[in-house]
Amino acid sequence: MNLQLISDFNLETLQQYLLKDSSSPQLSVTCAPFGQVFPALLEPVTADRSDFALIWTSPDKIIPAFAAALEQAPVDETRVLTEVRNLVDCLLNAKERFRAMFIVSWTLPPYQRGNGLLSLRQQGLGKLLLKMNLTLAEALEGSGNIYLLDGQRWVEAVGKNAYSPKMWYLAKSPFHADVFRYATGEVKAAVSAVLGATKKLLVVDLDNTLWGGRCR
C-alpha cells in the first residue's frame, strides 16, 4: 500500500517517520513535488495510482485571499470561501484516484495573533479560519472517501513548541519534528480505520448473570 503526501510545505520529515514506523499497516510513502498541490490533485488517473493521499496545506499558501487578510488587507470573506470551495472541487475531482484521502484541517501558529481582541469578531482572522474549516468540513461531509483530520489537535498535543519559525526558514517546514511524529500515529490510525483493521474491546460486568456471582 502506498501513501502520497501532498503539501505546500516540506513534508519529508513526516515521510521519514512514516517509512520508519514499524506498526501495521506498512506503507510506502511518496511526496508530491514541493508546493505543487493543485497540479498533484489534477493529475489524471493512472494505473500506478496511490492507495491513500494526505493533503496538508497552510491556509495562507493555499487560499490567497486568506494570505491577503493575514497581511492586514480588508477581509473579503466571500472571496476566501469561494477559494475554499474551489479547493474542495479539486479534492472531489481527485477522489477517484485514491482509496481514501485525508485532509488536515487548517491551523495558525500562536504567534499569528491576527486582530488580537477582535480575532473572533466580524473581519477577524480567527473567525475567518473557523469559517474556512467549517466550509471545508461541510463540503466534504458526503464525499465518502475523503476524511478531514483535526490538525489543531495535533498541534495542541505537541504544545507551545509545535510551530518552529526556524524550521520554516531552514527547511520550509513550519512545524517542529514532534508534530510529524505525532501525526505519524494519527495517519496510521486513519489508514487502519479505513482498512477495517481497528478492533474494539468490550468489557462487561456480568455478575449474577452467567455464573451466579462466583468465579470457578
Binding site: 521519514q16 526556524k166 524550521m167 531552514l170 517546514s173 517542529h176 519534528a177 510529524f180
Partner: protein, 121 residues
C-alpha cells in the same frame, strides 16, 4: 562497541573537567536519539563525542541537520532556562564550526552557558 563508547565519553568528560560538559553531552545525545527516530538505519548518528554531524564523513542531509538544530535548541532551552540559538557564530565553518562533531557542539553549548552566566548573552 558500547564499552568503547563509554570509555570515550569518560575520557571526554575528564578532559573537559566539568559536570556541565557531561550534562550538555547528555542533552545532545537525547536530541540525537530523537533525530534517529526519523532517520533510516544507514543514516543514524552514533551517540559518541567523535560522531561527525556536518562536513566530511557526515551522514546528515540539510533537513536532518535542520531538525537536529531545532530539536537540540528546544532541549537546551528546557535545560538552561533561556533561548539558545545554535546557528550563530558561523556554525558550519569548515575549520571551527561547532557543528563539525558532537564534541565541538557540546563545547559550544558549554561556552554559551558560560557567556550567559557572565552576562554576555
Amino acid at each position: 562497541m558500547e564499552q568503547i563508547r563509554f570509555a570515550e565519553e569518560a575520557k571526554v568528560s575528564s578532559t573537559n573537567g566539568g559536570s556541565s560538559f557531561d550534562e550538555a553531552l547528555k542533552i545532545i545525545y537525547q536530541s540525537i536519539s530523537d533525530l534517529n527516530e526519523q532517520l533510516p538505519g544507514d543514516r543514524q548518528i552514533e551517540r559518541s563525542p567523535s560522531s561527525v554531524l556536518f562536513g566530511d564523513g557526515g551522514k546528515l542531509d540539510s533537513l536532518g541537520l535542520s531538525n537536529l538544530i531545532v530539536i537540540t535548541e528546544q532541549r537546551l532551552q528546557d535545560w538552561l532556562g533561556f533561548t539558545v540559538d545554535l546557528t550563530e557564530d558561523d556554525p558550519f565553518s569548515p575549520g571551527a564550526g561547532h557543528f563539525r562533531t558532537v564534541r565541538s557542539l557540546t563545547a559550544y553549548v558549554c561556552e554559551l552557558a558560560k557567556r550567559r552566566s557572565a552576562g554576555a548573552l
